[in-house]
């Protein structure tokens, strides 16, 4: 069995003293896709933010070992440079910053971190054009400001486009399917599938089973009230689709 890429042990975390994650255990190995499902308010997005290192999300217990390092000790930028990528549920608009410029700045910071040479604008454009085909993005999007005036679908595609360029070891996709019509969902999911390799992994946070028709997970976990209350294979997602969450929540008696 491969060494874990990320090992979350008994992780507790909260915002402003309010406990949201109450002892999460999760191990993800290279080549795996894990889906985290759960009703609204169960702590799914909090998990994503805690992993990415958002200010105000305080870890109160447990540990997260990422690629052999203590993840919690790393700044958000160092986590990214070590190959962790969070695709936002609500990607942030940055008016005045050109999409390509932004992405090249990010790309080069990550290369510098790895002791690689920075890439100039011309070479970067070649990389970018290659990846754009993957997500069927119009070229005009490169010239626009980061996410500014993008439709919901364009924002999500832009997130996966960034992911394609930055090529993370571990991608955390937070509700990437929310707000997408079926065509956009298909494009985004196919993009994610094409990026899948034996040496990287993904945690797909989602509310709906439908995304998992396109991105087939190796494991499905149900998050409720800050804990994983059930784990299983891809069939668990179908079972949840059919029966909802109540039978599990009821079983846990909380």
């Amino acid at each position: 069995m491969k060494q874990p890429l990320i090992e979350i042990k008994n992780l507790s975390a909260g915002i402003n003293g309010k406990q949201i994650l109450k002892g999460i255990n999760l191990t993800v190995r290279p080549g795996e896709v894990h889906a985290i499902m759960g009703p609204n308010g169960s702590g799914k997005s909090t998990l994503g933010y805690v992993l990415a290192g958002r200010k105000g999300y305080d870890v109160t217990g447990g540990s997260v070992t990422y690629d052999g390092k203590d993840l919690i000790e790393l700044s958000p930028e160092d986590r990214a440079r070590e190959g962790l990528f969070l695709a936002f549920q609500y990607p942030v608009e940055i008016p005045g910053v050109n999409n390509t410029y932004f992405l090249r700045a990010a790309y080069n910071e990550q290369r510098k971190h790895r002791g690689q040479e920075e890439v100039d604008a011309v070479d970067f454009l070649a990389i970018v054009k290659e990846k754009m085909k993957l997500l069927e993005l119009p070229e005009g999007m490169l010239k626009r400001s980061v996410n500014e005036g993008f439709s919901g679908g364009e924002k999500k595609r832009n997130e996966i486009f960034q992911m394609a360029v930055l090529d993370p070891k571990l991608a955390v996709l937070d509700e990437t399917d929310s707000g997408l019509d079926i065509d956009a969902l298909r494009i985004v999911a196919e993009g994610v599938n094409k990026l899948k390799r034996p040496d990287n992994a993904a945690i797909v946070i989602t509310h709906y089973q439908r995304l998992l028709n396109y991105i087939v997970p190796d494991f499905v976990h149900v998050l409720w009230n800050g804990q994983i209350i059930k784990s299983g294979g891809k069939d668990l997602a179908l079972e949840l689709e059919e029966k909802g969450y109540d039978w599990l929540i009821g079983k846990n008696g909380k």
Partner: protein
């Protein structure tokens, strides 16, 4: 608050004497001499504004009155083209009119190839040749008695830029008006008076650019009048990058006829004290105008914008976007007036003022002032003052960009939002270079 006399006659005695001497001795046709004397009369009454006046409450001009008043009589002949190199726009192919201490310098200027219906010259030449447009329009837009400064400007009318577009004329290239102040023993005050008259359906892009040579204190008192004819389309960018000891007081007064378009930009990075009045008066229906502004200040700089969008007629739109970036102990002032007159139904007026404070000691006073007398109108305004958006900072960091660089990126972006609205690329490039350098200073010094 500084206590000032309501009428600081003592402090303006020197200025008054100089204005009288100039108005009495300067040559020109009778109408012009009358105009100058009229300026003197109003200056006698008004003196310099004090902070007791509502429009000057945050703008204490007392240091200007204390500065020796040495208005230039001619352009300084010692300025070389090489000295002006830093103020050239990269790859500029348009014309450039250079004014040294407010007076035209033919030697340093690049006049455009002559074009039918397009007059690009200096005001002194237009007046000397008895230009009828100059006579009929000069001082017909900006009021003589708007403040002591406009009265003083009128008393000293001598030179500046003069641009006249005949009906349907389209200026082939953008026009760069470079105002260079060279403070020295002979002169430290420039009072350029610019007049731009755009005929029906004409079009031009004009850049007013204010710079200093050397770091000594000087005073610029500029008035620009722009008459935009029916269906005409004018883009006017003003960029003030004078030295940090300078005092810059300027008015841009624009009259907009039916169906005209006007795009205004005011970018202000220089001067110890900069006061920009930008007044747009829509005198016909169907006018569409946009006012963009950006100020970046640090140290003890004061930069004050007073804008007016005066909707006198129905179906006009005015959109205003002002951004301020303030470091050190600087102060930014934004006062945006929107008047919607009784008959100006279907007015669409929008105003936003956003300010980024880089330090705890920087301050901003942002005040929208709306007077709406019509009932079927759409008027919105919004003002924000604060720091960089935390969510955007976090987003940058999750992509691997270090916090300090993310701050830099977002601060620059905040400026770019305004600069990007300028349609003349070489101007944008120059601005970006100057702004970037200035923002880096502000971020470093905090």
């Amino acid at each position: 608050m500084t206590t000032t006399k309501s009428k600081p006659a003592g402090e303006s005695t020197v200025h008054l004497a100089a204005a009288e001497a100039f108005a009495n001795s300067a040559t020109g046709p009778e109408w012009l001499r009358t105009l100058r004397r009229n300026g003197v009369t109003h200056f006698t009454e008004l003196g310099f504004p004090t902070t007791k006046l509502e429009d000057w409450i945050y703008c204490n001009v007392a240091p200007i009155t204390k500065l020796a008043f040495k208005p230039a009589a001619i352009a300084d002949a010692n300025v070389t083209a090489k000295q002006l190199a830093p103020f050239a726009f990269p790859g500029w192919t348009g014309s450039r009119l250079v004014f040294v201490n407010g007076h035209f310098s033919p030697a340093l200027s690049l006049l455009p190839a002559s074009q039918k219906g397009v007059t690009i010259t200096n005001l002194a030449a237009a007046l000397a040749s008895g230009d009828k447009v100059a006579e009929s329009q000069l001082a017909h837009h900006a009021s003589v008695d708007g403040s002591g400064f406009s009265a003083l400007s009128t008393a000293f009318i001598a030179d500046g830029a003069f641009i006249a577009l005949a009906p349907n004329a389209v200026a082939a290239e953008p026009i760069h008006l470079l105002f260079v102040s060279v403070p020295g023993d002979a002169a430290n005050t420039a009072q350029p008076r610019n007049l731009i008259v755009a005929g029906t359906n004409s079009s031009a892009k004009i850049v007013e650019h204010y710079v200093s040579l050397g770091g000594a204190a000087h005073f610029t008192n500029a008035v620009t009048e722009i008459a935009v004819g029916e269906g005409a389309n004018i883009e006017h960018a003003k960029f003030q990058e004078e030295n940090l000891e300078a005092f810059h007081i300027a008015t841009v007064q624009v009259t907009l006829a039916r169906d005209s378009r006007f795009l205004s930009h005011s970018i202000s990075t220089g001067a110890r004290l900069a006061r920009h009045n930008i007044n747009l008066v829509m005198t016909g229906q169907g006018v569409d105008c946009v006012m963009n502004g950006l100020y970046a200040a640090g140290g003890k700089q004061l930069v004050d914008h007073h804008t007016v969008a005066d909707h006198a007629q129905p179906h006009c739109g005015s959109h205003e976007y002002y951004h301020g970036i303030l470091g050190g102990s600087s102060r930014g002032v934004f006062n945006g007036k929107i008047f919607v007159r009784k008959d100006a139904q279907k007015t669409d007026a929008k105003q936003t003022s956003r300010n980024l404070l880089l330090t705890d000691t920087a301050t901003v006073n942002s005040k929208p002032q709306l007077e709406i007398l019509a009932d079927d109108v759409k008027c919105t305004h919004g003002a924000t003052v604060g720091q960089l958006n935390d969510e955007a900072l976090f987003y940058c960091r999750t992509r691997g960009i270090a916090e300090v660089n993310a701050r830099r990126l977002l601060t620059h972006a905040f400026a770019s939002e305004i600069v990007n609205r300028i349609t003349v690329e070489p101007v944008r490039e120059h601005l970006e270079q100057v702004l970037w350098a200035r923002l880096e200073e502000l971020i470093e010094k905090k």
